[in-house]
């Protein structure tokens, strides 16, 4: 950008006055306000990962185990709100997120419930088989990707283990005296955790089990919403997709779903990143993103959405064939070498040289 002053706003034949004032001010101000000072210590991290211990564990339903995690010294834990989750760093090195399903008023422990999924990534099996009482775990959070806005009229829809974030919301709805109801679906009643606890809340709770009623259609679930209600839905992906698709035809006006981490990579091949300035070569396996690999080498590399939407992680490719998977870059930007490393990849064995 040119350093000379831009023209007047109304086309008068002179440099713009306000811009001249601001430029002169900036030239005087920044040298004064950026004088190196006695370096103040950076503030302490406000939420370092913490160590917790599995205080109790019990079977909550068929294939569902419920864990209470407490501080080793019994100290009060940081507060949280319904919809919050915890990141568990499992002994195997896996990291998994689980919704907090206890009572926020109970500051002595965090409660999570985990369904065993044999065909999953192994996290739930590890929680079931390798976390006896007394195990120490590192956790981070709680963080909330599913906040409860406590609208006056609410329909909760939970599918199976999706009840975990909904349960504290229902508890808060009952406490606030909201007009709320819950539809709770699953394959069989024996597989649905927390049914007794829910009944104690005294709201309108309807259990729809596949054994008795068949699998309900999303539109049927949404029909239970009064006009103008807010819907909070959590459950298997096909159920949520159905609810999103059927939502506009429903009487409800607001839809809240948990915002999950990006979907796993599909159809990826291994390729290589080469950093032109440092000369480093970084192999990218088929199941990892270029961004994840890049961040290990360049920790300050910026990114945000990890879905190819926002463009923050954009890098410049000097040579190599990019397989673009983003929804953001224009053809001209792609032709100019731009690549969103959060989602875009390269064909098998390709070497992408980045201007880094």
């Amino acid at each position: 950008m040119s350093r000379s002053l831009p023209p007047d706003l109304y086309g008068r034949p002179r440099a713009d006055r306000m811009m001249r004032v601001l430029a002169a001010f900036g030239d005087a101000f920044f040298p004064l306000s950026t004088r190196p000072r006695r370096r103040c210590r950076p503030a302490a991290a406000n939420a370092p990962p913490r160590n917790l211990v599995v205080a109790t564990r019990r079977a909550e339903a068929e294939d569902v185990v419920c864990l209470r995690l407490a501080a080793p010294d019994g100290a009060a834990l940081p507060a949280w709100r319904p919809g919050a989750h915890l990141d568990l760093h499992l002994p195997s090195g896996r990291r998994r997120q689980y919704s907090l399903c206890g009572d926020p008023a109970d500051r002595a422990a965090y409660r999570i419930a985990v369904r065993r999924i044999e065909t999953g990534g192994g996290g739930s099996v590890e929680v079931h088989d390798a976390l006896p009482e007394g195990t120490r775990l590192t956790v981070s959070g709680p963080r909330n990707a599913f906040p409860f806005a406590a609208e006056p009229c609410v329909l909760f829809i939970a599918g199976g283990i999706g009840i975990t974030p909904i349960l504290p919301m229902a508890r808060e709805a009952a406490r606030r005296g909201l007009d709320w109801r819950l539809v709770y679906t699953g394959r069989s009643r024996a597989r649905l955790p927390f049914t007794d606890e829910l009944r104690q809340l005294g709201g309108r709770i309807e259990i729809v089990s596949g054994e008795e009623h068949g699998i309900p259609a999303a539109a049927d679930l949404l029909r239970r919403a009064p006009a103008g209600a807010a819907v909070y839905a959590c459950g298997p992906v096909p159920m949520l997709d159905g609810i999103k698709a059927a939502f506009d035809a429903s009487p409800a006006t607001a839809l809240h779903c948990e915002r999950f981490a990006p979907a796993p990579i599909r159809g990826g091949h291994p390729f290589e990143l080469h950093l032109a300035r440092s000369g480093r070569a970084l192999p990218v396996p088929a199941d990892r993103s270029a961004l994840d690999v890049l961040r290990e080498a360049v920790p300050a590399a910026a990114y945000s959405c990890r879905r190819g939407l926002c463009g923050i992680c954009r890098q410049r490719v000097l040579t190599g064939l990019v397989e673009h998977r983003d929804h953001r870059l224009t053809d001209a930007e792609r032709a100019g070498g731009a690549m969103l490393v959060c989602v875009s990849r390269a064909p098998a064995g390709e070497r992408l040289v980045l201007d880094l």
Binding site: L9, R35, A44, A45, R143, C305
Partner: protein
């Protein structure tokens, strides 16, 4: 929400994520608040300032990333810059539409671009210590701007007069989606400033500059747009103070007095952005916003 009801800081621990919103401007009238050119153009100044301004936020925050030593704050900053990048893109769409309708925002936009590069951009040849301070100073300016964007976000979420005046629903959704995300992430810039410089002087100094500069830019932008409007509402097309104040009394613009009081609250010792606006209201709006809901598909 009263403090008794709110044991946790209301915003605490919200995961910030950009939403992939799209808006169709093909049916947007020039005066999208019918019969209210002054109010329409005063709000339109947002579309002139924000694309360049929010892209500048992103550049500064990217430079601040290596200075952050707190993992949670880093996650917040990363979520923040993604939201800001999408805001810039969404307002750019309105700028393109104005141009197509015969209102050329170019002269003003070029000045704003110049301002964010030449006056507020990188300064070459700084020592590493000075370069760090230059990043922190600009983070402080952003924290002051974000105080006002949260103020405006909170205002637009509650501006029922805009609905009653028949304002264009797509534009209202853009303003409220943006306003809700501003309320949702209102603490991030301030928390980042406190992390990099917990002192009081920098906060006061940057607000003392940012508040008046923003006000000045805004008035100037509104005057420019009213003068450049190809569909004049009367024979003498000029923005007047009387027009601004009348629109703000009718609830179509925020009151200048409320903006000044809000700026004054920023310099209180015990200030924190969570004291302004309601996360609950922002979250509730985002669940009804047509654009945000379509983005969640």
């Amino acid at each position: 929400m009263s403090p008794a009801e709110s044991p946790v800081h209301e915003h605490d621990n919200l995961v910030l994520q950009p939403r992939d919103v799209r808006f169709d401007w093909s049916r947007l009238p020039m005066h999208w608040i019918p019969g209210e050119p002054t109010a329409t153009h005063t709000i339109n100044v947002l579309h002139l300032l924000l694309p360049a301004g929010e892209r500048w936020f992103v550049r500064v925050f990217k430079q601040a990333l290596p200075l952050i030593t707190d993992d949670r704050l880093r996650e917040d900053v990363l979520g923040f810059i993604g939201q800001e990048a999408i805001h810039a893109q969404a307002h750019q769409g309105v700028l393109d539409h104005l141009l197509a309708k015969g209102l050329d925002p170019g002269p003003y936009v070029r000045q704003v671009e110049w301002l964010f590069h030449r006056v507020l951009g990188e300064r070459p040849g700084l020592t590493p210590e000075r370069a760090r301070e230059h990043v922190v100073e600009r983070v402080a300016i952003i924290a002051a701007v974000e105080h006002f964007t949260a103020f405006l976000g909170n205002w637009v979420l509650n501006a029922d007069a805009l609905d009653l005046a028949g304002a264009d629903p797509v534009m209202l959704d853009l303003l409220r989606w943006h306003g809700a995300e501003e309320v949702e992430h209102r603490s991030v810039a301030y928390d980042l400033l406190r992390h990099l410089d917990p002192g009081y002087a920098r906060r006061i100094r940057t607000m003392a500059i940012t508040g008046p500069a923003l006000y000045w830019l805004w008035i100037r932008g509104a005057r420019f747009l009213v003068a450049a409007d190809p569909q004049p509402a009367g024979p003498r097309q000029k923005a007047s103070w009387r027009g601004f104040l009348a629109a703000s009394r009718r609830g179509l613009l925020p009151s200048p007095g409320a903006a000044v009081c809000s700026g004054a609250r920023y310099v209180r010792r015990g200030y924190h952005p969570t004291q302004e606006g309601s996360t609950r209201q922002a979250v509730a709006y985002l669940a009804t916003s047509p654009a945000a809901r379509a983005a969640a598909h």
